[in-house]
Amino acid sequence: MRFALSEEQAELASTVRGLLAKRADSAAVRAASVSPAGHDEALWATLCEQIGVAALAVPEAYDGVGAGFFETAVVLEELGRSLAPSPLLATTIATQALLAGGTEEACARLLPRVAAGEIATLAVGDGPVLDGDRAATVLAIRGDDLVEVTGAAATWAESMDQSIRLARLDLSEATLDVVGDGVAAAARAELVAAASAAALAVGLCDRALGMTVDYSRERVQFGRPIGSFQALKHRMAEVFARTELARSASWAASYALAEGAADADFLVRSAASYALEAAALAAAECVQLHGGIAITWEHDAHLVLKRAHALAGLGGAAHRHRAAVAL
């Protein structure tokens, strides 16, 4: 029993955090979000080549690091804190879907490319697809099959959160090759998406709270830093408590998913329910306690708010996760 990051995991987190602090500050995040690629390709290359973030959860047999989903979640938590747009979420979901349902042939062919940094995504349902227009590998669930899509026409769909890239896929001219079991792939993908959203949300909570605390220590009104007013203190304390509990739930969920534990489903629902609600609260308090500047384009508070909303869309709303828990 040891509920904490291992030395290697802590090192991974700190390396990613350091890199993002240098290369994904507010200006860089904004520039990357509106760039044609929708993310910072050089940063992604560094993350993949130097840290191997896309390879972490790919088994060694497929040229991956063979670490597991927990390590990926550690990276996602850091990405959540930085707000950087990143193909890691879509790629992770596609990777896990392939590992769960893909044929040996498909895994052997596609996963080494993913491990090397090629973007992948999985389309479930008919809605807009995360990274649908920038993924080199597009998988989809069609009936009971997992299929590989080539030649789909992708149209960018502008989202409120500009750091999230969505595209509509028109498959009418596309080739669909069956590459595995769609049921197993979809089931895994749903949990991985939820656990990943939870990890991103925990990082986002930290970011939102940090910004709010810093501002309220500096901002003086009525002759006092506003952070000395008890009502504001208590609200920030509440955000802190929820963030801490959400992090515990998120780590447990990612661990259970990585280990294939029997209670993985329950723990993932729990983590998503907590973390997404915590992020919504943290973002709302971030906006409210910053006051007027929060409503300006120049300030990062709205990036936090939009990300919190986008995560609920990507990972599934908190109440839907609770509804999925069997009573």
């Binding site: 409120m160 009525f222 990507l314």
Partner: protein, 382 residues
Amino acid sequence: MDLELSASELAFQAEARAWLAEHVPAEPLPSLDTAEGFALHREWEATLAEARWSVVSWPSAYSGREASLVEWVVFEEEYYRAGAPLRVSQNGIFLLAPIIFEHGTQEQQDRFLPTMATGEKVWAQCWSEPEAGSDLASLRSTARRDDGRGGWVLNGQKIWCSRAALAHWGFGLFRSDPEAQKHAGLTYFLFPLDADGVTVRPIAQLDGEAGFAEVFFDDVFVPDADVLGAPGDGWRVAMSTAGNERGLSLRSPGRFTAAADRLLALYDERPDPRLADRVVDAWLRAEAYRLYTWGTVTRLRDGGDVGAAGSVNKVWWSELDVALHETALELLGPDAELDSRWLDGYTFALSGPIYAGTNEIQRNIIAERILGLPREPKGAQR
């Protein structure tokens, strides 16, 4: 208790409803914070004014209908129910005009009110300063007396000036007596935004548009004729605006009951039993606010004033508005990311608990002025 409208109120309601049904633009106008939208919204104000619907509660001498408070609430309800455009002139007609009626000279009334009523001149509220947001009384912008020219010279900076990016005139408080502290020594000024020495820097909002601006004053001369009320009396003069803004006038229930109607329509399109409780709760909150407003209207009509109870209004409508939009976004689920109508409404709603006195300040007011709880110790840090 009597919750029926009188025959004349019903007739007024019917007339307003019929006119709006015929004249409200079929397609929503572009945002009033774009140049194009601003122009179209001013045209709409002119259309309203022509039919005497732009300032229904004003005296007929100033193109009003002398509508009673009840009629005004009824009009607003019809206005929002009809999906009519936002009021580009709201700072002027709702915030400034009551003060001009109360404190302005006859000359000021005659000079400013007619163009305000038609949308010819749009007014910006220049209230906060970078270091004076919630703590409004700590304003630092100055007004220096210039006896030679018969007026005042303004210097300093205002921020969060709503509509200022495109408006023609502004109003705000300046410190005319540098020796006086806090609420004393402030004077209420009106000034054209294209005056010499005025620089307007638009502030981009969450939707990228500039609903607010910073306004810089560099030796801006304002003649005595454009001082509202007595010099040094600005705080008292202004507080009636704050009362109006926080209270009834800016936020008639019509806006929220109309939003609740849109939420119900959205639920019809995309029913989700798991969200039914939240939808009903948001709807009931809008209805409760409508009922509460009738109580306020009755109190005002009986000669009372809104007073600190305006803070209850402010807290309620602003948090209700956020809840209405959040519930709609929940119903939309992942599609919310791509639906600009509710999203734009949401980002607009988020500013509600912040501007016109943050809800933290409003709750302080409720606690201290209504409940009589002791004030915070001030200043002496640690």
